[in-house]
Every structure is written in C-alpha cells, then in structure tokens.
Amino acid sequence: MHVVIIGNGISGITTARWLRKLGDAKITVISSESDYFFSRTALMYMYMGHMRLQDTQPYENWFWKKNRIELLNDHVTSIDFQSKTLGLQKSEDLSYDKLVLALGSKSNKFGWPGQDLNKVGGLYHLQDLVEMEKHSNNLKRAVIVGGGLIGIEMAEMFHSRHIPVTMLVRESNYWNNVLPEEEATIISNHIRSRNIDLRLNTNLKEIINDGEGNACGVITAETEEKINCGYVGLTAGVSPNIGWLKDSELNTNRGIVVNKYLQTNIDGVYAIGDCAELSEPIKGRRPIEAVWYTGRMMGETAAYNIMDHKVAYDPGIWFNSAKFIDIEYQVYGDVLAHPPENHNSLFWQDNSGEKSVRIVYDRDNLWVKGFNLLGIRYRHEVCEKWIKQKTSIEDVLINLKLAHFDPEFYETYEQEIINTYNRTSNRTLKSNGASGLNKVLQFLNA
C-alpha cells in the first residue's frame, strides 16, 4: 500500500510516523514549504535569533531514511480522485492508494485595499519569515493588523529588533473573544508596558500604496488616522489552505469536511490538522481547531484508521498554551470569555499584576470545569484528572499544591488563592499541604 501525505507539518508527519510504527506501508510525504519537518510554532525564534532553522527541526535528517519515510519537496497542483493520481509542479504524476490531506492554514485577508502590496505579509509559512526579514533592515515602524496569538508573536519579533510596532486590534481588549476580561486586561497592559503601541477597538480601512507597489502606511477605519510604516503584518487569524480544492469532488466547507474517523467523502482520502473540519464537532468545541496539539492527535488517529484499526477522533479535554511576550499562558478545560450563567469563577491575581489563576466551577454542584493561568505553571495531568472526575472546587483547592509546576524555589500562592475563595464563599478551607512528585504520582495512579 502506498500512502501519500500532502503536508509535512505536525499532523502529516505524525501520521507518517505512526503509519511506520503500525505497519509496512510505503509512505511519501510531500511539501512545497521545506525539505524537512520543522516546528511552525518556533518561527518567531528564528527571526529573533534564538534558533536556526535546523534547531527547530524535531528529527535529525537521517531519521526519515531510517524509518523509510520518503520526502518530496514539490507542490501538488491537482488531484485526480478517480485514478488516484496527484499532479505535481516539478515531478511526474504520483499515484497513491490512500491519501492524507494535511495542508495546514493560510493567513486571512479580508479584502482590504492594498492587501496584496509589497511589504505586506502574514506569519504562517517559512516564506513569510523571509519576507519579514527582507524588509526589516532600517524599518522605522511596523503595523500589525489583528490581535490573536500570532499577532502578538509578530509584535514581539519586531520588538526584539528594536523596531517600533503598532498593533491594530478590533476587540475592546486584547484577545477578549477568548480570554476573560481580567486576563485580557493583564495582557493588554503587558503589551503596552513593552512600549508596543496597542490600538484597541481599531479596524484597518486600507493599506496605502507608495506609488511603486509598496505599502507605506495604513489608514484606520474608525478615526481615519494615517499611520506611516514600512511593513504591514496581517495576523487576523488563519483559515484552511484549501482554495485549490474548492471545485473538486471533495466535500469542503470552511475546511475539508471529515467524519469522526477523519475520512472525507471520498473513499481512502483523509484530512487532518488545520485544514480539517469535523462534520460532528465534539460538544462545546469548534469544528476547526487550528492548534498544534489537535493536529498531533489527529495525525495519530488517522494513521490507525488508515491501517484499518477504526478509532474515532477524541481530543479529550481541551488544553492550550501560549506566551504573551513575557507572560506564559496555560489553559485546561472550559474557560470562556462569555461564560454561561452556571459557570462561577475564582479569580486570583498577584501584586505584580502579571500572574493570575482562574478556576472555573459549576455554580450548583461545584464541579471544577477549567483552569486559566497567566505567569504560573500548573501540572497538566493533575488538572485534567480533576476536571474529568468532576472534582469539587473545594477538594481542588485543598489539594491545589499538587498542581504546582513552577520551578523549585519559586514563590507559591496556593493559600492566597484559597483565601480568595474563602472570602467570597464564606468558608475556612486550608491547603492540606500535600505536594511534591511522590504525592502527585500517588494521586495520578490512584
């Protein structure tokens, strides 16, 4: 059996690795972005000089040959699903028995005037980095449009090279369509404290052409203000990179529609990662989740299904993480920007204002639902188990030290957090003191 995987990102590569673990199929991975798998999440660190491209590659180059995974650097231009062949830009047509589409995303463009000028770019592919690099010398100001996770990374990148940055954010607070208001405020303040010019409630109207096809500034929608700049970063989200498949027999919506076995409407064709849209999303989750972790889980699940071990895709309890300049962020479970009535939340913030813990729990039965952490690290498995087991918030608080994951000698805040709860709920809970790896393992193995 010849399995061809289009896309060498985390999802496609995970499928390839698992196919090899599970059997003896011939495996080919095609990508026109890079020769070898690299970590897209590390793009910013290349630009900032923390790492080189080879440092971001999770496997050494010999790995692929040793595991008999063929890599092909080429662009797939067409797919004939009937004859099961791929048309390629550089090489001969390639036939497959099973096909995995792991095409990833592309940066959104919302039809802004000037969006296709020179010196305008997103941040998704390696080639975007090359563009940024090309225009960074003597850059006087960059304007970033969109305030999600990629926008703040781009801001930090320019900032690291002492290039002034203006960020246009549509929302009234940074990322407050995802973060609860308090956290959004902490991050907004943090961005400003780093001398990044953050403009909230601000949309882009147009990008100005300098007359030679280069961007030289932007005009905002609300105030019609003109901001001069030498580069415009478009980071208003991403969407599945499937434009070229829209008119094929493949069932597509925003993404490539797949069932819970990650199969598309065409037999033997699978779609995973950023480009896949679940026809029946898991309750409370979105049909497309463009994050690293789900791509990895889908990649593994798809490999099983291709090898005829039917497994439904089940990503488990939601988790994610990010870093907002210097503030680390972790989330486990349901923490919503606009929570339903029955979600109570315990929110604690330290004196510096840059660390916070939010624990969401059910108002009626006190079951813990989620954790939202800024500047503090909690242990994933412990939080997950509490959520899964519907542990009451009070039990969680008493045992909160088990979740502690900050480095040794760091200050601990568990009792302060408990006191916050005690004050609002009129209780007198105290930490039971259980901490340390042995206790954690006891809890996890119980």
Binding site: L126, H162, R296, F319, D326, E381, L441
Partner: protein, 522 residues
C-alpha cells in the same frame, strides 16, 4: 551568508548596534585587559600593585557594566535575542578568535609558564606572573605562581560573569540561587581558604574538589602532606574520602548530580557563568551522544586505573604492617570490579532504566580493567597495570588534567559550547552520572502534552541533550549527563519542563510515553 536562514539564502540581519554606554563599558574592559597584556610583554609598569588592582577593577567594570546595559533595557524573561546573529556567539570570526586566544593562554599556562613570566631556577618572576606577586604576598605570603595567576583570573571570571548571569536570569530564582552558590564555592573554597591555609602551613586543599576530578588526591605527596600536618590534615583526608564514598552518593541520590555540577563545582561554575554565552553551541546529534558515552566513561576508567595504580604503589613503597597493604588493596579493587560487573549484568536491580548499550559499555570496561589488573598482580610486578604507574600518572595529568580539562574544556567554549569537558571528559561527571542514572530521585518531568516541539530546550542545553525528543513524547528525562542547570526549563516557552526529586515510580515514569494519544494497540 547567515546560518539562520542558510537554506533560504537570506542575508544576515544588521547586527544590533551597541549603545554608547555599551561601547564605553567595552572600552573600559579592553583597557583593563590591555594592562594585563602589557604586563605580560614584560614591560615594567610603574607601581605594579596599583596597576594590577586597577586592571582587575576595569575588567570587572567593563563586564558588569556591559551586562547591565544589555539587560536593563530588556524586561526580565528569556531574551536570547540575536544570539545566532552574533559573530562571537555563533562560531563566527569573533568566536574563532576568542577560542584561539583562550586556547593559547592555556597552552602557555600549562606548558610554557616561563613565557608568562614564571621565574625558574630561583629567579624572581617577571611579566604577567610578577604582576600578581603583590596580591599573592598579601594572601599567602609568597610570590605568585602561574597557578595563582590562573586561580585569581578564574575566580574573577566566575564572579563577574556570575553577576552577568544573575542579571540575565533575574526572574528565575533557581538560576539566581545556584549561581550565587557557585560564586561562593569558587571564591571561598577554591580560592581564599586554600590560600590562607597554605599561609598557615596547612596543606593546600580545595575541599569541594573531590576525587576523581581532583586526580592527585591519592598521590603519595598529597596523602603525605595531609598526614604531616596533624589533626587538621587528617581531618581533611577523612573528609575527602567521606565526600567520595558517603556524602556525594547521598546527595546525588537526593538531588541528582546537579548538587555538585551546577551548584558547587568550579569547572561547572566557569561553564555556567563565563561559558553561558556559548551554551547553545553544544552538539545535539545522536552521533555526539554516542561518542560522549564512550569518551566520558573511558576517561573515568583511565582515572580509576591510574588512581588504583597510584595507591598500589603507595603501599608497595610504604609497607604498612597493617591489614591494609598492597595485597588486600588489590583484593578490594578486584571485589569491587566483580561486584560492578555483576550489578550491571542485572539491570533490573536498578531503580532507573538503563539501556543495553550503556550496560555493555560498563561491563566491557570493568571486565577489561579487572583482567589487566589481575595479570599484573600475578606476574608480581610493582605496577598495578602493565604500564609503570608514574608514566600512567603523568600521561593522565597531561592528557586529561591539562589538555582536556583546560585547553579543550575552556579554550573551546566559543566553538563547542561551555561544557565540553563536563560532557566528554570529566570523570567526576561520569561517576555522578552513573549514580544519577541508576539510583537518583532526580529527573526532569514534562507537563502532559503541552510541548510544541519548538526546540528551545535542546538548543540551550549545554550538555547537548536533545531534551525535546523526550518532551514531545511526554517522557520524563533521566539522563546521566544532565547537570540540572535548569536552563531547559527556563527557556521553554510553554512551561513544559520541571526539575524534580521524587523517589517513586521513576522507572515507569521514565518509560511512559504520555503523548501516545490512541492507547489501543500494544
């Protein structure tokens, strides 16, 4: 062409310009260094003691001021900005220049101290070494030796670059505390106390410097110097032996080898402070790891064989009349080796996982030593091994003690990263590493599935451990070479890694691959 985007052929970004203040501090530091270099040429400077003082102060101001200027404009947090764009820190021209300069200094220090001005045949010192005479008289009442000059510069480097390091990691308490610790041990235990002790006619002894790192600990002259200075000397001898056999294994059991390698040791201290700007240059490839496992354990065996030989000849030359003599000593060593071979052939005895390759390395090395030793003994030679132990001892001193630990170990910082010696050569690290791997409670745990495979941890691991390869599988890291510097955990942008001690479950947890999502098929 810049290495960062080599495959994309992009020009090097403009180097970040130094601020005026940074330029001034650089100039101050260079003037300080210049004074030392002038002194080294043998030119007579007026009032040498003030000149020395001024020079050392200028160097310190230069380094600390430069670091302050660099980090004060940056908010606390990980800021490895531009490291791979810097010529000095990415094996560029500056890096090579620096490497050659330091290597050259070590070559002169070890083999041509007279070039540095060491007075031979009773002549007084000249040049650089005489420049340090006033300080030496002040501390220990005698003229400087090349080792005094070296010790002073070494200690100064740990302190001023330690201050730089603390500034850089000021948001991280673990990093701050352990750096204060190495600064303290270097200044007190390695520098001041031994010099004072010598002034008081006690043996010169750096108490934290254990065998086998301190390879002359069991040398006849060293033992005799302990024994000839009464109770204090005897106490030091006993402490030294207790460190090796009792204190160190206990601490390693409790906290891993980090208690020594990144909290106490002087070599580690220099690597962590002056070597910090080069930590990312360590080779992370599988090949490098395979090489490392052989090289470090071979050095360990070499030092073991050499020491056994030294002690054997000690007994040979000084018949004791006690139960402890050259025959019983031989028996003890033989029993020890047999026990080791036995233990390694039954890895299930150990708490932690050992892979087959490591076991093979250990068994073959131990068996070879045993055979060689027994042949020697029964042929009745005065040597413990085929080679005359004096030449063995001096070969070790030359190859390992000088060439490896000094010339390569420090001189190659800008080329191979800051822990070349600790990783490939240090017998102490080898010994503690075996203990760490077999019975320590120390490991680095990974936080569930949070790893994004970015590679920061592997890049900044000075020991060249591919931390990411474990983290992305959700596997705990239990590696003999890990010195527990904690930098992988500090640079991880997703809070995935934690250095921990815990007695339970280390074996299963080390094997457990938590990122296997579909737990279906065995």
């Amino acid at each position: 062409m810049n290495q960062v985007y080599k495959s994309l052929s992009i020009a090097n970004p403009e180097p970040l310009n130094l601020s005026l203040a940074q330029k001034i501090y650089s100039a101050i530091g260079i003037i300080g260094l210049g004074i030392l270099l002038i002194a080294a040429t043998g030119l007579n400077l007026p009032n040498p003691s003030s000149c020395l003082f001024i020079s050392l102060i200028l160097i310190s101001i230069g380094v600390i001021g430069f670091a302050y200027q660099t980090f004060k404009t940056q908010s606390p947090g990980i800021k490895n900005n531009g490291i791979w764009f810097s010529s000095a820190m990415s094996r560029g021209l500056m890096g090579w220049g620096l490497g050659i300069f330091i290597t050259g200094f070590y070559v002169l220090l070890y083999w041509y101290p007279s070039v540095l001005g060491l007075g031979t045949d009773g002549n007084s010192n000249t040049g650089l070494i005489s420049f340090f005479d006033p300080l030496s008289f002040l501390l220990k009442g005698s003229a400087a030796s090349e080792w005094f000059v070296y010790g002073t510069l070494y200690t100064l480097a740990i302190i001023i670059f330690g201050i730089r390091f603390i500034w850089k990691y000021r948001h991280n308490k673990y990093q701050v505390l352990r750096t204060l610790s190495v600064m303290f041990f270097q200044l007190g235990f390695a520098f001041l106390i031994p010099e004072f002790m010598q002034k008081l006619n006690y043996p010169y002894n750096d108490m934290k410097n254990m065998w086998p790192l301190n390879y002359y600990f069991f040398d006849e002259w060293n033992i005799k110097s302990f024994l000839s200075t009464g109770n204090v000397g005897l106490l030091m001898l006993i402490l030294g032996v207790a460190m090796i056999f009792v204190i160190s294994p206990i601490l390693t059991y409790l906290y891993g080898k980090r208690w020594y390698c990144s909290w106490v040791c002087g070599c580690g201290g220099l690597a962590e402070t002056a070597g910090d700007p080069f930590r990312h240059l360590s080779d992370k490839s599988l090949k490098a790891w395979q090489f490392e496992r052989w090289s470090i354990h071979l050095v360990l065996v070499f030092s073991f064989v050499m020491t056994a030989g030294v002690i054997f000849s000690f007994f040979h030359n000084n018949p004791t009349g006690y139960w402890l003599n050259k025959s019983t000593f031989m028996i003890i060593i033989a029993v020890l080796l047999i026990a080791l071979i036995y233990a390694f052939s039954r890895p299930q005895l150990f708490k932690n996982k050992l892979d087959l390759k490591a076991i093979k390395i250990f068994i073959s090395i131990a068996a070879a030593s045993l055979v060689i030793m027994l042949i020697n003994f029964f042929t009745g030679s005065g040597n413990a091994f085929f080679i005359d132990f004096y030449s063995l001892r001096s070969t070790y001193g030359f190859l390992i003690g000088a060439a490896f630990s000094g010339v390569v170990g420090v001189g190659f910082y800008p080329l191979m990263g800051s822990r070349v010696w600790c990783r490939f050569g240090c017998p102490m690290a080898g010994l503690l590493g075996i203990q760490q791997k077999i019975f320590s409670r120390f490991r680095i745990t990974t936080n569930g599935n949070q790893c994004i495979s970015c590679g920061n941890c592997s890049t900044y691991c000075e020991m060249g451990i591919d931390v990411r390869s474990y983290a992305q599988k959700g596997q705990d890291i239990i590696r003999a070479s890990c010195v527990g510097c904690g930098v992988c955990a500090a640079v991880c942008p997703r809070g995935v890694l934690r250095l921990e001690n815990g007695s339970k479950d280390i074996y299963e947890k080390g094997l457990d691959i938590r990122n296997d999502h579909v737990k279906l098929i065995g």
